[in-house]
Symmetry: D3
Subunit: 60 residues, 6 copies
């Protein structure tokens, strides 16, 4: 029963719907497990709360 | 000093208050450690950002 | 379908068995949800990989 | 630059190799972002450290 | 390519900007890796959703 | 009481000791909080369990 947690910037529901379907398919195809056993949780983090190379995305 | 992270859909404060007390008791009783050493963090994820079986909860 | 992730130092299976049962009960009683919907994942981190107050547990 | 964290039981490298490729494709296709921006981290948790319905997988 | 996830109460952007710069420097200096390889994600959790010693911060 | 979780490849204890001290200092200096309130947890993930751009580090 794999649990998938995604950290990303905010995106709209249509994109997230598509992503959750495709990630679930990835498990079904790679591990041969039922889709019902896969959960996907998307944590959307605003641009003032994450960054790379020492800078917030909000400042780029 | 165990750290507990919960991923769930949104719930009201009375339920979360009760949950945090009960999870902390679970550690005190199972591990015989002081309640002061236990932290609980609840990450509430909206229904358009998580799902199972390839579908968002918002679409069910 | 709440997901619980615990970060802790290593403990033996009897203690973890008891903890998972008690944490699950905490959700059943606080949220009135079936035990079957609760998953608990324990990440055991060795003493040379975590610390507080700027010091590794392995050095205390 | 999405970060994907998977919590699962142990699996062999061939299955994980396939999974990482397929999850990355899921982002490329759903979000139209370059594969280079996607990281996948798999946390393998032994059967005595996770469970559902109040029971460890090791006890089932 | 280390990924840093911070769980904390809400703080303003000036403090988070400073924190992300300093955490990134910590990796550059301790591990001798380029700043570009370090990502920091801050998950801000409101006072009604986390606690210690069995009590929510919102109730203290 | 911020909680820091680091996902990285394995490194030796001397490097982790230095990292934990420096990350803790980052919080003390940026947020003006006591070092005692900061916990750092390092999750070391082997090269066959994480990757970027669709490939495991073990295969690069």
């Amino acid at each position: 029963m794999p649990i998938v947690t995604v950290q990303q910037g905010p995106r709209d529901i249509a994109l997230k719907r598509d992503l959750v379907a495709r990630i679930t398919d990835a498990f079904v195809e790679a591990y041969r497990i039922p889709a019902e056993t896969v959960q996907v949780w998307i944590h959307e983090v605003p641009a003032d709360s994450w960054g790379a190379a020492g800078k917030l995305v909000a400042d780029k």
